[in-house]
Amino acid sequence: MRKIDLTQMKENEKGIIVELLGGCGFLRRLEVLGIRKGKEVKKISKQLLGGPVIIQVGNTQVALGCGMAKKIIVEIKNKEKKD
């Protein structure tokens, strides 16, 4: 298991959201789109040069700026353990 943020995930990789850094307003905006702790997230794509990241949670796809993506921490089940 390793913990990384959304920008560090690879395309098509899946992880479980374990932590959301950021204020209440930010959490609320994520929550109404179904993005919250414990949810599985799949990275669909990233844009060039630190552009937005596109993720899928449930049947919802969301594009979010790099700064926001860095505040969403996921845990990825990995064969080779890093520590």
């Binding site: 905006r29 937005p52 596109i54 594009a63 979010l64």
Partner: protein
């Protein structure tokens, strides 16, 4: 009159349900004090005429943006009357997160009814929802619907009188929602659909960016070809062969005093230079702007209904973010390459004033409008492509520079992109037509009176000799700075009426290549054209309008002055 409020998250097919419920007579308007628009129509329930309101999309009743604030206000106004009803449109493929709004609506004091929309898509994704059980848990009627085919709409209408205040679920919201989901929803294996493959192709930069460029180029081409042909072969002949002789005959029969005659018909009968209220007045909006706008709105509505716009915004956000605007500004900016009027009307989707001002500056300065670009190309190309390259790249970099400066000067931060990417959806052509018509109607209602007012103002100024005075007074220093001969002043003074024609007129003035380049650049930048100016005035506050126009004018002057001294 009783009201039915249609509420729901964005992209759940709320507007399609609205169209299915209401007849042809619908009105769009802005919520007072905001730029958030909503649509209103009527339907009959058991013979009683009822108002149906398409409330702006909201994820939650604890507002996170202006649209949601408006939605909450509309809900609060409606809940003062006990007979009003709320229909929540739910995306069946995303039941869980849609239920947040449901729980919030249940805690309000209004009868509720739920349309479980995109029912077919949910089935396709292997999602089964026991809607009767959902009905029992929530205590309000639930009707599965497929808005795009019309399935379930009849049942929905029949159930409207049965809407009621449901059960207020008071537990912790995710626990309550979790319980409901466990009870009513089963998910089986899902297939990778064609729409998902298309999604991957259009949103990954390697394939998405080239595709975006192709799509934008096609829009540009279609707007240009369509607009040009409609003007040349349909509207211009109608105007010149039917309308103009008729109106001239009527007015001369009445034979008003000379002063009024000149205001109404202008001094000549040439619709573009006469400044007559009944000649130039209708010619600009109906013959020149309307055809471009029509094609453009048709294509925009198509891209919107399919669901392409959020993807385009995401792809271009990387670049635009650095200029201080959102990816969402990409749509208006690209439109600006065609015609500035629809581009400015499209800035309405932007949330902050700062974004609107920067985007407006980019729209106005990045490139001339399409007819004007075409004129510049035909005028300058004979002297060498390098001059064309000089003109267009100067404009491009100047606009980037100006918007970059504005992003530093204007208060506020560049917001990060945060938007839902809805799945691709099949467009319905009848609805597309309706949407295009609604948008054109808004243009006719809002911009046309402004253009008429502008023409009237100019004809008055002209009649009292004020325009000649300005030309003499301001013309000399201007021409000196730009190194242009005196005969260009006429073109400069009247050029903002129609900027492509003003460029064409330059060819009659025997200018040197250097003067041509400076004059084209200056005429592109110095002022917005008449229609643009008034639309800009409507979209921006007076102060910001003034800012943009001053920036434009001085950028034009500065570039012209510089070239006058550098070029040989």
């Amino acid at each position: 009159m009783r009201k039915i409020l249609l509420m729901g998250n964005p992209n759940v097919g709320k507007s399609v349900i609205f169209s299915r419920l209401t007849g042809t007579y619908v009105v769009t308007s802005n919520y007072p004090g905001t730029t958030v628009g909503f649509t209103k129509g009527y339907t009959k329930i058991n013979g009683e005429k009822v108002e149906v309101i398409d409330v702006p999309g909201a994820y939650t009743l604890e507002p996170t943006n202006t649209a949601e604030e408006v939605a909450v206000k509309m809900l609060e106004t409606a809940s003062q009357e006990k007979e009003n009803v709320v229909i929540q449109v739910i995306d069946a493929t995303n039941l869980e997160r849609n239920l947040i709004l449901t729980l919030q609506l249940l805690s309000r004091n209004l009868p509720l009814l739920i349309a479980l929309n995109l029912w077919d898509e949910a089935k396709h994704l292997g999602i089964q929802i026991d809607f009767q059980k959902l009905e029992a848990i929530l205590g309000v009627p639930v009707v599965p619907t497929v808005a795009i085919t019309g399935e379930g709409i009849k049942e929905l209408k029949e159930k409207i009188p049965k809407a009621k205040k449901g059960r207020c679920l008071t537990g912790e919201k995710w626990q309550e929602i979790g319980k409901i989901i466990d009870e009513v929803q089963r998910v089986s294996h899902r297939h990778h659909t064609f729409s998902e493959k298309l999604n991957d192709l259009t949103i990954r930069p390697a394939t998405g960016l080239p595709l975006a460029l192709i799509i934008l180029y096609l829009i540009f081409l279609l707007v240009r070809l369509g607009g040009e042909n409609l003007t040349t072969y349909l509207l211009d002949p109608i105007f010149n062969k039917l309308y103009l002789p008729l109106i001239t005959k009527i007015i001369t029969q009445i034979s008003p005093p000379k002063f009024f005659l000149e205001i109404l018909l202008g001094k000549t009968l040439e619709p573009l230079s006469s400044f007559g209220l009944l000649t130039t007045g209708p010619y600009i909006p109906f013959v020149i702007v309307l055809p471009y706008l029509f094609i453009f709105y048709l294509l925009l509505s198509l891209l919107e209904d399919i669901g392409y716009l959020p993807r385009l915004a995401t792809l271009l956000d990387t670049f635009l973010h650095r200029l201080g605007v959102h990816g969402y500004s990409s749509v208006p900016i690209i439109l600006g390459f065609g015609c500035k009027v629809p581009a400015l009307l499209a800035t309405r989707i932007l949330e902050t004033k700062r974004e609107k001002v920067i985007t407006t500056a980019l729209i106005m300065m990045m490139a001339p409008c399409l007819p004007q670009s075409a004129m510049i190309v035909s005028l300058i190309a004979p002297y060498g492509t390098k001059y064309l390259f000089l003109i267009f790249s100067l404009l491009f970099f100047l606009s980037l520079f100006v918007s970059f400066l504005l992003s530093k000067v204007l208060s506020g931060e560049t917001l990060e992109l945060f938007l839902e990417i809805p799945p691709y959806r099949r467009p319905i052509f009848s609805l597309l037509g309706k949407k295009t018509w609604l948008r054109l109607k808004a243009f006719l209602k809002e911009a046309v009176p402004l253009i008429f007012g502008g023409v009237f103002l100019i004809s008055i100024l002209e009649l009292f000799g004020i325009i000649d005075f300005i030309a003499k007074f301001l013309g000399k220093p201007l021409l000196y700075l730009l190194g242009l001969p005196e005969r260009t002043i006429g073109v400069i003074v009247t050029g903002f009426l129609r900027k492509d024609v003003s460029i064409a007129l330059l060819s009659l003035l025997n200018l040197t290549p250097k003067q041509l380049i400076i004059a084209s650049l200056f005429l592109t930048l110095y002022l917005p054209c008449l229609s643009t100016f008034f639309v800009m005035g409507k979209e921006l506050r007076l102060k910001n309008l003034f800012q943009v126009v001053v920036i434009q004018f001085f950028s034009g002057l500065f570039v012209g002055f510089l070239l006058n001294h550098i070029l040989n």
